[in-house]
């Protein structure tokens, strides 16, 4: 449990560092995760390494838990790469910006798993989505497929109360978890700021998925304590009172209180955790600022998996165009 606490503290620290890097012009954008550390990391800890995770774009906790470090956490947000990691290597899909689209990818992966390995002992596909995504058609279709094919999928919904400026009440008049029942999917609502509760329900859903029991919807009720992204001003749409009330339920403070009462966390352990968090933030910063811009012709890389004459022609044309500019010595290449 101390490991979980340490990881939550590291996540918050690098989250703050990334926001600072954005403010300093080193990142183009950052979607802060503050407030959702328990929902992400306690559920991540329940998974086995074989389970394939499909996330939206705020799930820095999942990336951290799957071993993504330093600059790789922010390459996308600096605008130097489309992904910070190889999805196959750590069984974590690249972040998804189209809300809810990846839930179908999770369903497809799970279908492949049952085709290949049968229903009895498959690995699970775990889709992390938000309260806003629950309104998307893709998510409804994903739940239909998952239920009809009885697939090993967990729909892990972090209900953080806000989809940019839209409150969760605009997505559903009642509880989001109720929606899963209509699809025939066992559904559970959990306090997403209670790390142990999140861990417990995720384990249960995973047990169901791993033993042929089909999908589960988990609604983890939590709160996005920060802005939607660094480009957002949440004071336009929510009150300071609301933010303050949720600050009282900070998942890190709650786990710290529990660990202290259990005698697991003391001042020395706290200092060790803080030092680890600072080290992770320093690694992130150093890696981030050292990231060079890609070479211009990299715009043509990987559009297709196979050779493509359109791309080859345009690459050659653009290369010729670039060659027309003066080099470092002031000479222009005239041989075109």
């Amino acid at each position: 449990m101390l490991d979980l606490y340490r990881e939550m503290r590291i996540l918050r620290r690098i989250d703050d560092e990334a926001t600072a890097l954005q403010r300093q012009g080193e990142l183009g954008l950052w979607p802060p995760v503050r407030g959702q550390e328990a929902a992400q990391l306690a559920s991540a800890r329940a998974l086995t390494p074989g389970d394939f995770v499909f996330t939206s774009y705020r799930e820095h906790g999942l990336a951290l838990h799957r071993g993504v470090r330093g600059a790789d956490l922010v390459k996308v947000w600096r605008g130097v790469a489309g992904t910070g990691w190889n999805p196959h290597e750590i069984r974590l899909a690249t972040q998804q910006v189209i809300i809810g689209a990846h839930t179908l990818h999770a369903v497809g992966w799970a279908l492949g798993e049952t085709i290949e390995r049968g229903e009895q002992h498959p690995d699970a596909a775990v889709a992390y989505l938000g309260d806003g995504a629950m309104s998307e058609g893709d998510v409804a279709e994903a739940m239909v497929f998952a239920a009809s094919f009885r697939l090993p999928v967990i729909f892990f919904c972090q209900n953080n109360q806000w989809a940019i400026s839209e409150p969760v009440t605009l997505q559903a008049p009642g509880e989001l978890a109720d929606r899963g029942l209509g699809f025939g999917i066992p559904s559970v609502r959990v306090d997403g700021n209670d790390a142990l509760a999140v861990y417990a329900v995720t384990r249960e859903a995973l047990e169901r998925a791993h033993t042929g029991g089909g999908p589960t919807l988990i609604e983890a009720v939590t709160y996005r304590m920060g802005p939607h992204t660094t480009a957002d001003d949440p004071t336009r749409y929510r009150t300071a009172e609301e933010v303050a009330a949720w600050a009282e339920r900070d998942p890190i403070d709650r786990l710290a209180a529990l660990l202290r009462s259990e005698g697991v966390l003391d001042d020395e352990a706290e200092r060790e955790v803080a030092a680890a968090a600072d080290a992770a933030a320093a690694e992130l910063r150093a890696g981030c600022v050292a990231l060079a811009d890609p070479e211009p012709l990299a715009v043509f890389d990987h559009v297709y998996a196979e050779p493509n004459r359109t791309i080859e022609r345009e690459r050659a044309e653009y290369q010729r165009y670039l060659a027309g500019f003066a080099d470092a010595n002031g000479f222009v290449e005239v041989d075109r």
């Binding site: 394939f52 790469a81 489309g82 992904t83 190889n86 999805p87 196959h88 899909a93 690249t94 189209i98 689209a101 839930t103 179908l104 990818h105 999770a106 369903v107 497809g108 992966w109 799970a110 279908l111 492949g112 798993e113 085709i115 290949e116 596909a125 058609g137 893709d138 279709e141 994903a142 239909v144 497929f145 009809s148 890389d301 990987h302 559009v303 297709y304 998996a305 196979e306 493509n308 004459r309 359109t310 791309i311």
Partner: protein, 353 residues
């Protein structure tokens, strides 16, 4: 050689792909027991089982999104969209997911997905069953877009599409499903005409007609009719709309100096515009006349009893040939009525009495 319909040739290709590679799975609506509404998957579920030939819920985004996940797991999904007009709910998954995944993952994730889509009109169908949406897909980087028009090409191109590591939109012209021909089902894909190559289907010297899909048949008939009148038409079946085999088409246009582009889809922003523009850029000094487009009108697809007035037919293709030969004066632009200038003039309000 076996005598097969276009649909039968496609079925043969799917059968071969399923038999040769365990990773090939078929997904779609009514493709299992029912064998697909055009029977292209007839009997395949019975032979290969419901894990390889999968009837899906009625959710096109779901089908495509599921295919993405299957491909990430290592499968080579072949999805059937039941009709051209039903592909739009899946558009986001195709454009934002399939087309971009390899690029945004730096090549780490390949999605070898084939999307079979019956295309086009001329079969007297109900609404949303006769669309020509190819330009949307050809415009999208990261996917390949091809159209087969003969049983032999159907048999080979579908296998090539399935073997391709890129996502491929594979259009099947509905009017051609029952066209029969001798088909060699065992063509070696390594020596076959590559998927991204055009095919000269009729040689000629006076006019190059570039087309694809069901219009290939119409243009061949037009070429035969024109030949009777002493006009020699070269017909090129483009086959691949992305990428385009410009070299083959360019060589033809340089020889004939005259280009007519024919497709069913609407003209405005249609694929013919790309063909005309690129060949004008490449062949300008060789052109004897401005390229002519013979296309569907810029209208929603009309009701069945009017589709003959929408779809280019033999006479409309020959009219285009006449125009590019300067035999009729009117180009589409100059044929337009002069703008009603009075409507642009400032009108003096009637005095209020």
């Amino acid at each position: 050689m076996t005598r097969l319909t276009f649909g039968g040739a496609l079925r043969s290709a799917l059968h071969r792909a399923l038999a040769e590679d365990d990773r090939v799975v078929l997904l779609g609506e009514d493709i299992g027991v029912n064998g697909g509404v055009f029977r292209v998957t007839d009997g395949l579920q019975a032979e290969f089982g419901p894990r390889r030939v999968i009837d899906t819920p009625l959710a096109e985004a779901g089908i495509l999104g599921t295919a993405v996940g299957l491909a990430m797991h290592g499968f080579r999904p072949v999805v059937e969209i039941q009709f051209d007009g039903f592909v739009y709910p899946a558009f986001d998954q195709i454009v934002s997911q399939l087309a971009k995944m390899h690029y945004r993952t730096g090549g780490a994730v390949t999605l070898p997905i084939t999307m079979r889509i019956p295309v086009g009109g001329g079969i007297g169908a109900a609404e949303h069953h006769s669309e020509s949406p190819e330009a949307y897909f050809a415009h999208t980087a990261g996917i390949r877009t091809v159209v087969a028009s003969t049983p032999q090409d159907g048999a080979v191109m579908l296998r090539q599409a399935i073997a391709c590591d890129d996502p491929v939109v594979f259009f099947e012209p509905k009017r051609r499903y029952h066209v029969k021909a001798e088909v060699d089902e065992r063509v070696d894909l390594r020596t076959a005409l590559p998927l991204d190559r055009a095919r000269v289907v009729a040689e000629g010297t006076d006019v190059t007609v570039v087309t694809y899909g069901a219009m290939t048949g119409v243009c061949l008939d037009a070429a035969a009719a024109a030949g009777d009148e002493g006009v020699s038409i070269e017909v090129i079946d483009l086959r691949s709309l992305s990428p385009v085999d410009w070299e083959s088409v360019e060589a033809s246009v340089r020889r004939t100096g005259r280009l007519v582009v024919v497709h069913e889809a609407a003209r405005h922003g249609g694929f013919g515009a790309e063909i005309a523009a690129t060949l004008t850029e490449r062949c300008f000094p060789f052109l004897e006349a401005a390229p002519v487009r013979v296309t569907g009108h810029d209208i929603p697809y009309p009701v069945a009893k009017l589709e003959k007035h929408h779809l280019p037919d033999l006479d409309r293709v020959l009219d285009g040939v006449d125009r590019v030969l300067g035999r009729v004066a009117a180009s589409p632009v100059s044929a337009e009525p002069a703008p009603a200038t009075e409507s642009l003039a400032v009108r003096t309000p009637e005095p209020v009495r």
